[in-house]
């Protein structure tokens, strides 16, 4: 008791305390602020980024990711062969891949995991990630019942064959989506119904993993801790002894936690703090492109937006450079197409121009000279400071450039999603983050029957182009088809692209081998801490 009192006084009076980061640097423990409390840690159930960040430390799929550019590297499979027609993948699993309970990781583990992920009762929201595989969609829709008919085959314990419907050049990248990660089915079955949410197998003590770390602690809304997995096949290169993920929901709170030395890395950075850190801590502020596009979707069933000239005029008359330079300031790039430039080598040739005069002419042709007679239009966004400020800026641009009045309407998140679903909007804010690195991850959302296409824009020609691209093996030829599709999309203009996303966060200099990647994935097994890299004066 007396000791506690003395240490309390000591801690609260001395000016230079040992911070959590200091402690972590000395013991190879990484402290990460990780946004919100995860929904679960089951790779076949979760959909969010915060969950993904944790699951990546625990589980490993057939392939893993290169720490710099995320290209597929050997994971549980030490090598693989691809058939000449590009449809059959044969994976050779390594002999020393083990689960954290000592069981070997076998091809059967993968097949049973995929079966679980595709069982309709589980209602895996990422089930479509498997639709590239022969008969996977049919099994999910109960058109066939025998899982042996699906394109997964265990040749032996260490050989797994996957047969695809079409040659899919980005298939190996898909395998790095967490829905393709294996789970230890006997464990899942032990702790509850494997096809039901709320199964307790994801609790610490229960969780059996095969990745570089194992789950050691989960205190709700406080921390999720993982520690080094000694049974991991590549454990020798793992230098971190543990990672502690803190669910800090407020951005300004995590930014303060970073400054007071409680976390090595923030999840994001608040808009208002970017300028400060750019000036004072340029070495701590990390900004990089992030594979996603921020845009407004138009409702083309609306009277005014039925005319494609109006849609083009809207997209043409906003100053995107001003938005990214003075409003968002987070290293975003002005978007003049839908797919971000240089997505595995693909850059859209079609571009939206910034041409106020032409936009005015288009409006006049459409019957709204100087914006006269333009119907009452509302821009819907969900309540968030960063959405609001962009909407305010664009509203003013359209007013000044085209003479049209667009009123803003903010809605609470779920109400906003509901309005979007029911088409109760004229224009609405949207953001699209790719699940894998390929133009298809962007362009297939504008298919006529895509669940994410709320614009009401349906174009059979576009659908045909995307389907054609899916069948094309040769990358160059495939990208040509995508070019055509994107040109069509940008001519029809059911959207107003605004910027390509960027990630931005604060990172302590002691964190080494941490790279900024397009999907913000971080292969933790290469990361380590170097206390010497910390400046002492901060």
């Amino acid at each position: 008791m007396a000791f506690a009192l003395v240490s309390w006084l000591a801690c609260s009076s001395c000016t230079k305390r040992q911070t959590r980061v200091d402690f972590g640097n000395a013991h190879q423990i990484l402290y990460l602020a990780n946004g919100a409390e995860p929904e679960d840690l089951d790779p076949h159930i979760v959909t969010g980024v915060t969950e993904d960040h944790i699951i990546r430390s625990l589980l490993e799929g057939l392939v893993a990711e290169d720490p710099v550019d995320l290209h597929p590297v050997p994971g549980v499979a030490e090598r693989w062969d691809i058939s000449p027609d590009g449809k059959v993948y044969t994976f050779h699993l390594r002999a020393n891949a083990k689960w954290s309970n000592g069981d070997p990781v076998t091809s059967t583990d993968f097949i049973r995991s995929y079966k679980r992920a595709l069982t309709p009762e589980l209602a895996n929201e990422y089930d479509y990630m498997f639709f590239y595989v022969v008969n996977a969609e049919k099994f999910l829709k109960k058109e066939i019942t025998n899982f042996n008919d699906v394109g997964f085959k265990a040749i032996d314990d260490r050989t797994l064959q996957i047969t695809l419907n079409n040659p899919t050049s980005y298939f190996l990248s898909l395998l790095n989506h967490h829905s393709w990660f294996p789970v230890h089915i006997p464990t899942v079955e032990r702790f509850g119904n494997p096809y039901q949410r709320g199964n307790r197998w994801t609790r610490p003590g229960n969780y059996v993993s095969n990745g570089p770390f194992v789950l050691s602690e989960w205190k709700v809304n406080t921390v999720i801790a993982v520690k080094k997995n000694p049974l991991y096949w590549d454990a020798d290169i793992v230098k971190l002894q543990g990672i502690r993920f803190y669910p800090i929901e407020r951005l300004d709170t995590e930014e303060r936690a970073f400054r007071s030395g409680q976390v090595h890395k923030t999840y994001k950075i608040p808009l208002t703090k970017i300028a400060y850190h750019k000036e004072h801590n340029p070495d701590l502020l990390k900004q990089a492109p992030y594979l996603g596009t921020y845009f407004y979707s138009l409702n083309v069933t609306n009277a005014a937006f039925r005319d494609k000239r109006v849609r083009q005029a809207l997209a043409m008359s906003i100053d995107r450079e001003a938005i990214v330079k003075t409003v968002t300031r987070g290293g975003e790039i002005a978007a003049y197409s839908f797919t971000p430039p240089n997505t595995v080598g693909y850059t859209a040739e079609a571009k939206i121009s910034y041409d106020i005069e032409r936009a005015k002419k288009l409006m006049a042709e459409a019957g709204y000279p100087e914006g006269k007679g333009f119907p009452k239009t509302e821009l819907l966004y969900n309540t968030l400071e960063s959405h609001k400020i962009i909407a305010e800026a664009l509203q003013q641009m359209w007013k000044n450039n085209l003479g049209i009045d667009i009123t803003l309407r903010n809605e609470e998140w779920k109400v906003y999603l509901d309005s979007k679903k029911l088409g109760k909007f004229d224009l609405f804010r949207y953001g699209w983050i790719a699940d894998y690195v390929d133009p298809n991850a962007f362009l297939d959302m504008w298919l006529s029957f895509s669940g994410n296409n709320a614009s009401g824009w349906k174009n059979p020609k576009y659908d045909a182009l995307i389907a054609e691209a899916g069948r094309t093996i040769d990358t160059a030829a495939r990208f040509k088809v995508f070019q055509k599709a994107e040109a069509l999309l940008l001519d029809e203009m059911p959207i107003v692209p605004i910027y390509y996303y960027a990630t931005g966060y604060l990172l302590r200099p002691s964190v080494k081998n941490w790279n900024l990647t397009l999907l913000d994935h971080q292969p933790y097994k290469y990361v380590y801490l170097d206390p010497a890299a910390e400046k002492t004066d901060h």
């Binding site: 000016t15 679960d40 589980l122 209602a123 709700v220 709170t253 007071s260 409680q262 999603l417 994410n452």
Partner: protein, 306 residues
Amino acid sequence: MIRFIIRRILISIPVLFIIAAISFFMIKKAPGGPFAKEKSAPPEVIQKIEAQYGLNEPVHKQFFTYLKNAVLHGDLGPSYRYANWSVNDLIRSGFPVSLELGCWALVIAMMVGIPIGVIASIKRNSFGDYLPMSIATMGICLPSFVMGPLLVGVFALWLRWYNSSGWDFSYDRILPALTLGGYYAAYLARLTRGGMLEVLNQDFIRTARAKGVSEIAIVTKHALQIGLLPVISFLGPATAGLLTGSFVVETIFDIPGLGRYFVTSAFNRDYLLLMGSILFYAVLIVTMNLIVDILQVWLNPKLRFE
């Protein structure tokens, strides 16, 4: 008095039932379900998830199932947002935290707010009145989302005495308790002063003064028990609110309490977690208002339990 308490407890059963029923149907009427997301899953998938939780049943049936589980088994159901935790788990882990923070805040609020209010009322229209009341007024104008970051800026980032957030060490309690308690202290100071002024003007106090009773005795023996009435009335619901946690303070200091669920579960349409929070709060409100009613009679012997 025992009969009064028993009667009030009996009345609280229909009160809680009405709260549960209205809340349940209100929550279900709100647009957007718990599983709506930016990347929308196909409706078939959403339906299957809802089926797992019995959300495909008619609403009144869901309500009675909920009520049955809650009353018979004390089971408040699963959380949809935190798939791995039940509502009972979340309340069990969050309440002790909120309770502790709430108690500290309450202690600060009462120890600071009430004496200042009493002094200000005695020293009416003098420096000893204006200064503390001005500070209190400022305190009311600085909501916790301003006060919290200010305190963190000074004590955590500048002086580096405390951590900026978290709930790990005993000194992690200091800044959030000050933020929350300071705000309520300002409220209490003003209410106490108002209540005291009312009493100090009453005839019986004037009579006592005329009789030469000392000012201290007047305040402690006669004035306080009536002067504090508005404070006590205010403290009933305020205590229930404090003990169930404050959303703003908990998120600013990243404290794993209960308060955040009141807001986030509504935003997430996490129906049962919101129901659990509401019912928990309702029980506290009913209890606190009962305690207030008892205190009122106890402080004012002219009143009877009715």
